[in-house]
Point group: D2
Chain length 287, copies 4
């Protein structure tokens, strides 16, 4: 048994478990979600990285080239952007998806990107490898049903104030619609503390691993809200047993159209890869 | 000036105000949203009531008949139900909308009901008087844009963990898409306290009235989660200056398909109407 | 039965009730706490007002004179101040208590003031009528035990993040040490919302009235953090069924040594008294 | 530079910093707090462990013997217990302190134990090595002042709903009273999530390390509330850069007088030591 795994031999908490298909009772072993040549939920910790938003062809190619070079197998980048303000940049949409697909062809990285409604979901399912459902849509049940029906791997972010049970029920919506290829992503919850953008609920990692067979990743960038704190949180996640990390990185954070303050530059991303690699190895895993 | 109004003569808090159209700076007077013969934001406190979900033609007619009799001008009832579990009753959908429309014809009540995606929005806009955007969809920005484009009056519920600024930004999405007929609804926020289903943020009433010109109503039923506490919260809301109340009531709460514990029976609803009427009168308003 | 009371005939929530003496099971009728000529928990809504801190003899006399004139029976004012910063004004201590006692003699108002440890408790019990235990000390169990042993009426504020059960258990500490003269005070809880200083948990009023026989008051000043929102919250509290209000008012808020922004000036306090009086009357109570 | 340290070269957040002595501006290097032969804030990660409460001489000796054997240098154990209920076991008090002191003599472990008021503080300062101030007393300012005056090393737990600024201000109270020997302890904050007892705010580790020069430890036991999740959280803490861990362990958790469910048995504690040792080594530190 690798050190980083969570013992689940002795159940203690008697929990109401409204979910079925995503429960460990239904599938006692860890699920392994295969996406291209990448396996979520196995021995490797999968790093996904890239800019918050697709801003230009050049920015994406530069990012994809760097990810390939340092061994990040999945490129992230938003083509559809759910922004708090209607006056903010809303994303390059289909044009952005095509740029991401081109980057995949050229650099051999997989693509994860967000869908925000039925129309964008159809496009994302066509052009990308993993469909992201964002925190704000975690209980957009119609979108969850449709994501289930596509059959594509889904990265399901936890809602800003979703309980672990609600999060697993959202996954159950996808599963009940025929799709078990679900990767759960903890990205910080809303609390009274304002120093960080959100509060990374690191405990959710072992709790969800006990309750569900699905792979769990964390997004330390949205949790921290400041790039300096991303590396310590990424290290903590790997130490707690995550199956992957999704991290915002930008060729030039100071000029990012969104989330600049929480984006790593490429040098810091490379340092982070080294640090989390050491932790993974200490626990018998690798990147 | 009526007693219940909020003085806004002396602004104190220097707030970042990313919203424009919904801000009091843009429209200093209270907006009055006229829906049929009902005006939200005027001197009357508008009561909306009915069952959580449309369950049958009989249940709706019985409810509408009672609402008409005790002077409740708007009937609520969900035809599309966003449920936490995919295995729960998901609503009667278009069939439910037709029943609501029939009730309007027979009893002269207006209809408010929820839309959950583009398709249901089109149907709700066709059959109902007020489109409800639920708490879980408050930051479903594509739905907000579409709701803006219908031009129909929108009841916009505050998200479970939305800040007041995010809530007003969600309203701004509707407004920026051409629709100023927005009624804001506080329905309880998520906190650490578990005795109640949510924590009614009563302070949001005067705060939002200061920041925005839009009418504000509260939903004490979802906040309380227990029918016994609905009347005190409804009274508190009227005392704090709300423009309306939306309250779950069911002909037989014990048999409700959803939210039974927080639904008033009709006798208790009638008592509540008496109590809030006295408070409204004390403040120079009426029901 | 007066309208504002809470029906408790049909218990619904099956709650773990670790408290005994403060439970309604132990004492089904409302407790009435008599302090001098003032009764908390009876038909009158008791208003307590005055400055956050005792700053000078003149300030206290001016306040007491005004309270007497407009019919506020209890003067509040801190002689011992638990301040977040060690560099902030820490209170006039015994000298402040003597000034408050002099104000009682001259103007016939009762005095409520805070104790922060064993020594200040002994002094407050000697000079004042009601001992306040502040939110930050709600689980300072040694102080609670000592407050129980004095036998003096205690105003017990809810902790910033205390559950209702923990608050009632804190009251149980006082009761178990021989003192049933306890007045519970909801003063806002800590949530993610930052527009207000805290979030007034108005639902706590009917919930606690159902669970306990003790009188319940609210402190809308600390909840709001801005004087403009104090009156709507005070009205809401009376409408929800509180037995009293504790409100910060200062002869000159702009010069207050602490909590100036949330302090009413005397003209606004007088207006508030008129407004809450109308609500109380509508519900069959008076001030 | 060791990998686990936090870069603070480029300050990003412009924070209001009301604290002075505990700020990194005042003392740019990490403070090292020497207690006997143990140094908090240096290269070693210091583990403190033992039972929640001192229950008997035998239980303490058994614990101390085990801690010595597996290399845990500090024994924890409560002689004064701040319990939510007045009817729960309140601790062995001075008798408990004497047992702890005897364990120190026999097994060479240092003692950390909680003080709850002036009297217990005097006793703890006499018999123990580190004075713990508990979460519920974090803003018991009179106790903080007195703890400052003793000069003894203080383990200051973060309050259940304290912001990072409030926590550092509580430390400032101790420092301003002449005592810079302060170890900060994150122990989980109160959020809406109920699966865990509290939510470990792992982000607080890098944030506080950036703002302050004081050593930071975590208490994964109180955060988790269930022993199974303690090891993953301890690993996460070390990966995030903590200077120590405080962990509840009991010779027989099933019979513990308090906090049994979150206490490790000795075998699990030994396993945890192995795991966190591997992480520490990966980051260039050791236990």
């Amino acid at each position: 048994m690798r050190v980083g795994s969570t013992e689940t031999a002795e159940p203690v908490v008697s929990v109401r478990k409204p979910y079925k298909l995503v429960s460990r009772d239904f599938h006692p072993d860890d699920s392994v979600i295969q996406v291209g040549n990448v396996a979520f939920g196995g021995n490797k910790v999968i790093v996904m990285s890239g800019p918050c938003a697709v801003e230009s062809r050049e920015q994406v190619m530069q990012s994809a080239e760097f990810m390939q070079r340092i061994g990040v197998p999945v490129l992230r980048g938003g083509a559809y952007k759910p922004r708090t303000s209607p006056y903010s940049f809303q994303g390059m949409r289909v044009e952005g998806l095509k740029i991401l697909a081109e980057a995949r062809e050229r650099y051999g990285v997989l693509i994860v990107t967000e869908a925000v409604d039925h129309e964008s979901l159809a496009n994302v399912a066509e052009w990308a490898d993993i469909v992201q459902i964002g925190a704000r849509n975690m209980q957009n049940f119609e979108l969850l049903k449709a994501a289930g029906q596509t059959g594509k791997p889904v990265l399901l972010k936890r809602g800003l104030a979703a309980t672990i049970d609600e999060w697993l029920m959202a996954a159950e919506y996808i599963a009940a619609n025929g799709n078990m290829n679900i990767i759960l992503c903890e990205r910080g919850i809303r609390t009274y503390e304002t120093k960080t953008r959100n509060t990374l609920d690191i405990s959710a990692v072992p709790v969800v691993k006990q309750l569900s067979h699905l792979p769990v990743v964390i997004d330390p960038s949205h949790a921290a809200g400041q790039w300096q704190w991303v590396a310590p949180l990424a290290r903590a996640g790997v130490a707690a047993g995550v199956d992957g990390l999704i991290i915002e990185a930008h060729p030039n954070p100071a000029e990012a159209l969104s989330d600049g303050p929480q984006s790593l530059n490429f040098r810091h991303l490379e340092e982070l890869m080294g640090e989390v690699g050491l932790i993974a190895q200490a626990l018998g895993r690798d990147l």
